[in-house]
Symmetry: C2
Subunit: 512 residues, 2 copies
């Protein structure tokens, strides 16, 4: 039975309601490629609507490439997930694809592997991203750096190299930390293919199926998915991001202590700075207490610092690694939030023994990170470009964050709250209780507005009334316009919802 | 008890014998970092030699950084494995490193994770490599390609992209196959961080701890290590590379059928072209029979084609994928043997369902492969540079292979055999039975000659009398000189060995 709710009193045609709700089920992952949906006659009778209503909705979804009819077999979802690159699984000319499927047919938790963002068409106002805007990329400076390194050391760059990273980039990263007052020993550093690979290498090096790890809830879906893929038990530490509810912003450390009392944890996985999705940062006192707890229970911390250098206002906070006196932290970092995410280059820092094991795992995983990008980035840092670029982007992003906050203040209806991040790239919005951001997205999309419903980020107890707005990828005007449209849609839905409550009492709702 | 064998009648001083044998034990992995070795007094009494002999050997090994004394605790191995990048595990300034070690203290099979090649000092004659020689890299053409793509599409390259690969490279690879008469559908291709990552992704996507996989024996250590790391049972299919012994070269398909009868295999992992380390290729009839067997038992094949485009003579053979009519093959390929291994770019090709799952795993592993290298390589292919470079390298490598064969013919003592590869980068040598290539390496190193003992490549039944000689990285003169020196050392050792047998009868051998 599909969770469909058609409101016959609504001004929205029934076939549009049905079409949009089915689309939302696909985008939220509740319907997946290969899933069979009821025949139009069958669904029409279940919903108590005319068969033409269902047929029209199906026809539109088929035109969109989201569903596909097979004569004599039924109608199937086929356009879920990253449709532009990979169509639905189907038997290929060679046949035999069923054999491959049987290899992973026994998988559990595969839904966790594909927490994909809603697809955004070109020209839409997309608040979906947490990435730097490419319009400011200093491509010309980067190009000159690439030329310089190829002229100077092209053969060395293009030949196989060391698994812990290209020497000039290792030096540049160590020097960068030194300038920030941090010491990084040469054997405490491993260059990785971005922060995502760092998480994956840590999982491979230290975790086994059945191990337990504590992680924020909500959290970065890419981290949740890696742990799910490794069949690791993820235990949720609540992040409170709604000051209207508790007066607190930050990690629930009492809940963490409770987890530690009851479970043998392998790690605590934490993003203390501008946590994705909520944008919140751990206050200094909480950082100290977290380290104290971790040391007491002898549980190492994985500190995801990928947003740490994106602070836009407020006071710098020391990293967990820099506060730690027990060698108990592995810090993950990357260039992708401060320069060019298309280059997959990041690093992790930790105790020598941990890094040595990670280096070995890295060697076996892909020998080493691409050296052309490593060498060019090293030159880019050495020439001071990264510092200048970072300073410039902070101005750009600060102004965009302020534009978003201004628009939210102006247009958001009563009963909604949102975080006030001091950096990062996202604001976390909480709608009135009982409201579903996934439903809201269906209507916002019709106005060309996209965002990520909060449920994408939860490992448990999803709060359907939350959503993430990214502010880094749109200019101030688009943000102002987009937030206003978003709020218009939201207000309209809130009104409809009040009407809908009345409708329900009139018994006019078809619920399957 | 250490397997040490000192010959007091030898012209080699006892302390040199002891030093070299201890070093060999470290390099072969029998002694590992953190292993305690006996106190000099203790070892001297066990060996029946003067304490000064042991102390002198220890002093030299300590000077080399291979062992380390700790007052009151003893002497420990500390310089094993890739010493130049990562010194021995030791407690860091922060303390706490023991905690990290405890995370992987329960590991089994970790020795398989580190099948590392012998370290080679600069200036040595290294037959250790299986990689293209950087002296011929067309760096200037590559630089121009990098400029062109950054000017044309810099922002797109440097922004996040698609997990299945950068569009222009995907097009270039498909066009390349089309030119070779092969059809690759857009959804049958996934760009990876080189062939190594392709193997790793396949392991992650399809294998679980306890699964069984058939793989050649000997095989590429990087593949063995990935499977060992994933706790997969590897079952050996013998590769016969010594025609002097059986008259055969190739895979033992009867042994494979036996494995299939007795085990539920997830995969057959095969390198049909210029197999590393032996250099042998599977004849067409064996390819057909292998596919027939795999289809009959419904077991997919992973075809590692990384050397397929390095054919130097003889007739082209069709890939398993192109012969397969059951959609039963995933083919792994890479740019690293035909152009620039420092760029980590390769790909795999297979049935859509398999590729779609691999794409998802790739997405979670590192989002996507570095786009700067992908875009530049695409341009490099499109401008025809790769084709020209490949043709040139074939001439270079053919001449080097011929130089090696000429030198082997001329200098190799009786009782030795070696393969006659038609491509690839390595020749596989079999010494007289009972002879240990690891021992030979100790003496060859003193003459500045390096090679890889065969035992690095075996997953079971290691043949200690085998070794691999790479011919691609040295010019013809160095090859001639190096092979001659190698043969001189080998002949000297063969003579000593005959003497040693006599010594043994005189009861002058200390065996611990």
């Amino acid at each position: 039975m599909l969770p469909l709710l058609l409101q016959s009193e609504s001004h929205i045609p029934l076939y549009v309601q049905l079409r949009d709700q089915l689309r939302a089920l696909v985008h939220s992952g509740e319907l997946r490629n290969g899933d069979r949906i009821p025949a139009s006659r069958e669904l029409a009778s279940q919903l108590g609507v005319h068969r033409t209503t269902v047929a029209t909705a199906y026809a539109e979804l088929e035109a969109e490439g989201l569903i596909e009819g097979h004569v004599g077999r039924g109608t199937f979802i086929c356009g879920a997930a990253a449709r532009q690159f990979s169509p639905a699984p189907r038997s290929n000319g060679n046949g035999g694809s069923a054999r491959w499927e049987s290899l992973f047919a026994d998988e559990r938790g595969d839904e966790n592997l594909s927490r994909l963002m809603p697809e955004v068409p070109a020209g839409a106002l997309a608040f979906t991203c947490a990435r730097p805007s490419e319009e400011f990329f200093p491509v010309e400076e980067f190009r000159r750096c690439a030329n310089a390194v190829l002229r100077r050391e092209g053969r060395r760059i293009l030949q196989l190299g060391a698994s812990d990273g290209y020497e000039s980039l290792r030096r540049a990263v160590v020097a960068w930390f030194r300038e920030e007052g941090q010491t990084v020993g040469p054997d405490q550093l491993l260059i990785t293919d971005g922060g995502q690979q760092a998480i994956d290498l840590i999982s491979k090096a230290f975790l086994r199926a059945g191990d337990s790890v504590a992680i924020e809830n909500p959290a970065y879906p890419g981290a949740i998915s890696i742990l799910a893929g490794a069949r690791v038990r993820t235990l949720a530490v609540p992040v409170e991001a709604d000051p209207a509810r508790t007066g607190n912003v930050g990690l629930d450390l009492d809940a963490l202590e409770n987890l530690l009392l009851q479970n043998r944890l392998k790690f605590i996985f934490i993003t203390p700075d501008f946590h994705n999705p909520t944008g919140t940062s751990l206050p200094l006192s909480q950082r100290r207490r977290l380290l104290e707890i971790a040391a007491r229970y002898q549980v190492p911390i994985i500190e995801d610092s990928i947003y740490a250098r994106t602070r836009l206002r407020g006071t710098e906070l020391p990293s967990l690694r820099s506060l730690d006196t027990h060698g108990n932290v592995i810090q993950i970092d990357s260039f992708s939030k401060i320069s060019f995410p298309g280059l997959r280059v990041g690093w992790c820092i930790g105790a020598e023994t941990a890094i040595e094991r990670l280096r070995l795992v890295k060697l076996l995983t892909d020998l080493h990170t691409d050296q052309f990008s490593q060498a060019t980035l090293a030159e880019f840092i050495e020439r001071g470009h990264l510092k200048r670029h970072l300073a410039r982007m902070k101005k750009v992003h600060r102004s965009r964050l302020e534009a978003m906050e201004e628009a939210l203040e102006k247009h958001m209806p009563e009963g909604t709250t949102w975080t006030r991040p001091e950096g990062g790239m996202t604001v976390w919005v909480t709608l009135p209780a009982g409201f579903d951001a996934g439903d809201l997205l269906i209507h916002a999309r019709e106005r060309g507005i996209y965002f990520v419903p909060g449920r994408y980020f939860y490992l448990q107890n999803p709060q359907p009334n939350t959503l993430r707005l990214g502010f880094a990828s749109l200019d101030e005007k688009s943000i102002a316009r987009g937030v206003q449209s978003f709020c218009d849609v939201l207000k309209a839905e809130l009104r409809k919802r009040q009407r809908g409550v009345r409708d329900e009492f009139r018994g006019r709702v078809a619920l399957i």
